[in-house]
């Protein structure tokens, strides 16, 4: 079942004047195809200069995150049958655009780096693995599925206004390690995320949850971090 779709794509060509323009492409797609298929078709048959990121094309690498009809989505996971005939495609908001739909993710990754995104445990390593019970693993199961696509942080109105805000992705990463029973850096991480632009800047707007392609309830995790900070503040207890 093929149909015509109009892809309205926001272009950014830094070496041209004007550098920003909207291009329209009318293409035929099978209703079960995705936006990424449309973009590839356009690049291959209409305009080879169209630039976008793509790797796995099946929702696990996070490369093709972009704003589609006003909402951040993965292009490879958005079926055209779920979209109207006219589809507006723009790069992710609030990050510098390198070209067309490719944005500079440096700021995004920097924030993740700031929360000590690795296991911290100075105890002598056991003979084999550091064990974790199924219940313990369950605590972090949702948070480990993050594919670092950037949809969440770039959908957050706080991040739009305040580029120093750690953002949902970094805070989720902080949760992933703080609540990992094998980790011992709770204190240090709490210090990093309770600063001026940390957890207290989250206002439970839920834009992040609305766009996460892995359906992670990010706000739920941030709320858990807030409650942990309060608990530790008063009782000095560890997790």
């Amino acid at each position: 079942m093929e149909k015509y779709y109009t892809f309205k794509i926001k272009r950014f060509l830094p070496d041209e004047t004007p550098s920003v323009r909207w291009d329209e492409f009318r293409i035929r797609l099978n209703r079960m195809e995705r936006i990424i298929d449309g973009l590839i078709k356009i690049k291959e048959t209409r305009d080879g200069t169209l630039t976008f990121r793509k790797s796995c094309a099946h929702g696990v690498c996070g490369s093709c995150a972009m704003k589609i009809n006003g909402k951040n989505r993965l292009a490879c996971q958005t079926l055209v049958k779920d979209m109207p005939e006219v589809i507006e495609i723009e790069p992710l908001p609030a990050l510098p655009v390198i070209k067309d739909l490719a944005v500079d993710m440096t700021l995004f990754f920097e924030k993740n780096d700031r929360v000590l995104p690795y296991l911290v445990n100075d105890e002598p390593p056991p003979e084999r693995e550091r064990l974790q019970s199924p219940d313990d693993q369950h605590k972090i199961l949702e948070s480990i599925t993050c594919i670092m696509c950037g949809s969440c942080t770039t959908s957050c109105p706080v991040f739009w206004a305040d580029k120093e805000y750690l953002g949902p992705s970094a805070l989720l990463k902080a949760y992933r390690f703080t609540f990992d029973t094998r980790d011992r850096a709770t204190q240090q991480r709490l210090e990093k995320i309770t600063g001026e632009h940390g957890v207290w800047r989250c206002h439970s707007i839920f834009n992040c949850v609305d766009v996460c392609p892995k359906e992670i309830d990010i706000t739920k995790h941030i709320l858990k971090l807030k409650r942990l900070a309060v608990k530790k503040g008063f009782t000095g207890d560890s997790q």
């Binding site: 109105p157 206002h203 839920f206 949850v209 609305d210 706000t219």
Partner: protein, 114 residues
């Protein structure tokens, strides 16, 4: 920059705007109350309250307060531990409550006044 609004992001937006409005209101309110040191000037100011435009302003204030209270309670409940799976429910229910309470209050208020 255009981005799609949803019930939850709108709840935040209205919460923030009403918060700012209420902050200015409280400053004005304390200024007015400082006239309590002089019964004449105070009663003169209170006479202004009979003005229908002020009455409409009071209704507007009532709406602003209701929006801020319900949106704030929703956030506080979530932070206290109410499951986030109810966040949209709370937002929609809150909106309905605000409309209802405001309407009932407005009817009662206008009856008292006129």
């Amino acid at each position: 920059m255009r981005y799609k609004w949803s019930i939850n992001s709108l709840a935040w937006l209205f919460h923030r705007i009403t918060g700012i409005v209420l902050s200015f209101y409280i400053i004005a309110h304390i200024y007015v109350l400082s006239h309590l040191k002089d019964p004449e000037s105070y009663n003169r100011l209170m006479g202004m309250m009979k003005n229908p435009i002020v009455k409409i302003g009071e209704l507007g204030l009532f709406a602003v307060v209701l929006i801020h209270v319900f949106a704030g309670l929703r956030v506080t409940f979530l932070e206290a531990g109410i499951s986030t799976k109810y966040q949209k429910h709370m937002a929609y229910t809150g909106a309905v409550f605000i409309a209802l309470v405001w309407f009932i209050g407005a009817v009662y208020f206008l009856k008292e006044v006129f």
